[in-house]
């Protein structure tokens, strides 16, 4: 194992492996054919070290499969944060970190030269001024140090703010951070705050939480920065159909599904002159592509299109901006099952629901992509009286029900198991 390190410099490859172990869990060593056997062993060993207690090993006819398995509604801390705590560094990085902070702990401002001299005098740590300056600049960008000018000289002072002082001033904030650190919107930042104050989440559990989103945090931060600064980005995508795909887009929003676990970048794509969506987990990295002059215009375009979008599909490029008004009628016995209508009302999104007959309620929605509503419609199987608005979807629904009917009508064995 010479040369193996628990720490990593680049998160991309690790992101792939953790995702494969976590989402699929059925892949064996040979399935990772894009990478070398050595890199599989190293990545697996790292994941074992970070997340050992959540790993499951099964031996199948195909070989030994490794899976990360856990019920995310029963854990108080996202274990995938461990992967984000694994950034590698040099010996100089860690020495400078603790020695410089020790010199700056007095709260006064110091120059680069005086710090460089003190490092040598107090700790026999000899660094050139340029190295020390680089670290001080880096820490100023992170907000750890506050730069200030004294004449022509640049001085650095340690920030007086600490997590403990913040929580001491506003004690209820510690519980808020416990809660928000569990959520996918950069919860890792909250986790670092808790850790710095020696605290843990002790009050909250999260249901329907997709902790795998943690792996996209770095890319997501690049995208939200671009949205905040109204800049374009070049996306480098991978995945099922977008292997090696690159495109330049104007990021507008992040759409997320609380039910399917997928998150998307919603953007304006100049090549196609339309709003488009890209799955976040298929974006390997995003690079700045310059300021966007017409940002407000594209944001307006999204606003106009969003009301005809049931999920993230803004229609098919080749079909233009075709719209479909879909009507789905379901049977509800209001005496016995009023909760079904309540469910329709709370899940209708951009559609509306009206009573259209005795025990009949019709959901109507105008969308760019009728296929996008069908998964949700099928959750009402058993009470769907009619579907109209797209002959293609209607025919497919009918075929699906017939196939399911054959599937569930198969004769079962006496012991109840299906063959």
């Amino acid at each position: 194992m010479a040369g193996f390190s628990e720490l990593i410099k680049n998160f991309d490859r690790t992101r792939d492996y953790v995702r494969e172990f976590f989402i699929y869990g059925f892949k064996v060593r040979g399935d990772f054919d894009r990478k070398s056997a050595r890199s599989y062993d190293d990545e697996k060993r790292r994941v074992e070290s970070w997340l050992g207690e959540y790993l499951r090993y099964d031996t199948t006819s195909r070989g030994k499969q490794v899976a990360i398995t856990l019920n995310s509604s029963r854990i108080s801390e996202n274990p995938l944060y461990r992967a984000l705590e694994s950034r590698s560094f040099t010996d100089n990085d860690i020495r400078l970190h603790f020695l410089l902070l020790d010199l700056l702990a007095d709260g006064t401002a110091h120059s680069v030269r005086s710090l460089t001299e003190q490092l040598a005098a107090d700790y026999s740590a000899v660094f050139d001024e340029q190295t020390v300056r680089g670290k001080l600049r880096e820490y100023a960008a992170e907000g750890i140090l506050l730069p200030e000018r004294e004449g022509k000289m640049l001085l650095y002072r340690l920030t007086p703010e600490t997590p403990r002082s913040l929580f001491a001033e506003i004690p209820a904030l510690a519980q808020a951070v416990q809660f928000f650190s569990c959520l996918p919107e950069f919860g890792f930042a909250g986790h670092t705050l808790l850790r710095a104050a020696g605290l843990h989440n002790s009050a909250f559990l999260m249901k329907h939480l997709y902790i795998v989103h943690t792996l996209e945090s770095q890319v997501l931060l690049q995208l939200t920065d671009a949205i905040q600064e109204q800049r374009m980005v070049t996306l480098h995508c991978f995945g099922r159909r977008r292997m090696g795909h690159t495109c330049t887009v104007v990021p507008l929003k992040i759409y997320a599904s609380a039910q399917t676990g997928r998150r998307y970048l919603i953007c304006y794509q100049p090549d196609f002159r339309r709003v488009n969506s890209y799955r976040l987990d298929y974006i390997r990295r995003a690079e700045d592509a310059g300021a966007c002059e017409n940002y407000a215009e594209y944001a307006d375009m999204l606003g106009r299109n969003a009301e005809k979008c049931f999920g993230v599909s803004f229609g098919h490029r080749k079909k233009g901006n075709s719209e479909y008004t879909m009507r789905v009628t379901v049977r509800i016995n209001m005496e016995e099952e009023p909760y079904i209508l309540e469910r329709l009302e709370r899940e209708k999104r951009c559609g509306h629901v009206e009573r259209t007959g005795e025990e009949l309620y019709t959901f109507t929605v105008t969308v760019f992509d009728p296929n996008e509503i069908m998964n949700w419609v099928k959750t009402y199987i058993g009470r769907i009286v009619s579907i109209s608005g797209s002959p293609t979807e209607e025919a497919r629904f009918r075929r699906d029900v017939e196939r399911m009917h054959r599937m569930y009508s198969r004769k079962e064995e006496e012991d109840g198991t299906v063959q």
Partner: protein
């Protein structure tokens, strides 16, 4: 400003805890590595921390009495980073922040962060399938109940609760709150709790926070190890649901992504390119699980347990009849 940075890493944090001790034994160093770093860090970190190892970071030195002491003069100072401040600033835009902070506390934090740019713009995230009947975070009564419950969880204090059930019946009783559960999909908080009787802990329950009309501290405290674990275990299904997922319509990827939050086991059949999945679930969520599985149509077949499959078959049969 980096999220994936060594300053938030496990190794830096371990070193910080060790240096904050001043003087300690080699055994204490090892113990702190085990507490803070990764499972295998004992193979890599000790030689970096121990003086005279050749690979040493030279942050500790050996004393004559065999102890280790830091080379620095002070315990490492703490600091709040820009990433943490920008994240906190963004959370001020979330209405749920007001559940925790009083108006005065909210004002104080807002003023403290007034010059800080949010980490992300307000409203940039949109959960398009979140239910629309979420909890009333703006309601003063809801906020009061939330804070009372949260305080009681920390104090292990029994609460006298007035509750309205889903069927509109009024319920009054003493409950020991254990943990709050939040669902992004439902946009609701629910409370894991134990019903308290005259003889102590009774049955376990789950209360929707939005249906608690009043919660008052009783001054009585109750602590017992494993209460929450017991509740969770009782709610877990006795047998997992077994399903067969086909690759049609990208079914396997869609299915495994959607059910990524579940405890599961998967097995791929190379010949048929179909994946068998065993899912463990909370018994209270059985209907929700059933309709989600049916939403996949013929891409997913529920194989067992027989009673679970029978429920799916019954709904499909009804649907088939409706289309004839």
């Amino acid at each position: 400003m980096e999220l994936f940075s060594e300053i938030y890493g496990a190794y830096f944090r371990t070193a910080e805890r060790i240096l904050s001790k001043g003087r300690l034994t080699p055994k204490e160093v090892q113990q702190l590595i085990q507490e803070e770093a990764f499972r295998d860090s004992m193979l890599f970190l000790p030689q970096k921390l121990m003086p005279e190892s050749g690979e040493s970071w030279e942050l500790l030195r050996k004393t004559e009495d065999g102890m280790l002491e830091r080379v620095t003069k002070h315990a490492p100072p703490a600091f709040l980073t820009l990433l943490q401040k920008r994240w906190l600033r963004s959370k001020l835009d979330d209405p749920k922040m007001r559940l925790f902070l009083t108006d005065a506390e909210f004002q104080s934090l807002s003023e403290r962060l007034q010059d800080v740019q949010p980490l992300y713009p307000a409203g940039v995230f949109r959960y398009f399938d979140k239910f629309t009947d979420g909890d009333p975070y703006e309601s003063p009564q809801y906020r009061a109940v939330f804070r009372t419950v949260l305080r009681a969880i920390g104090r292990h204090e029994v609460l006298a609760v007035d509750y309205m059930t889903g069927k509109g019946k009024s319920l009054r009783g003493h409950f020991l709150p254990l943990k709050l559960e939040y669902s992004q999909k439902n946009d609701k908080f629910r409370l894991y709790c134990i019903r308290m009787g005259k003889r102590g802990a009774g049955g376990s329950g789950m209360l929707n926070l939005g249906r608690i009309a009043a919660a008052n501290p009783t001054g009585k405290r109750y602590m017992e190890d494993g209460l929450l674990e017991g509740v969770l275990e009782r709610r877990r299904c006795s047998e997992p649901v077994q399903v067969l997922v086909s690759g049609e319509r990208n079914g396997i990827e869609r299915f495994l992504m959607e059910f990524a939050s579940f405890e599961k086991r998967t097995e791929m059949d190379e010949e048929s390119r179909r994946c068998t999945v065993w899912l463990w679930y909370d018994q209270q969520d059985e209907t929700e699980l059933l309709i989600r599985l049916l939403g996949f149509g013929p891409v997913v077949e529920i194989l067992g347990p027989p009673a679970f499959r029978a429920q799916a078959a019954e709904r499909v049969e009804r649907q088939y009849a409706l289309l004839q």
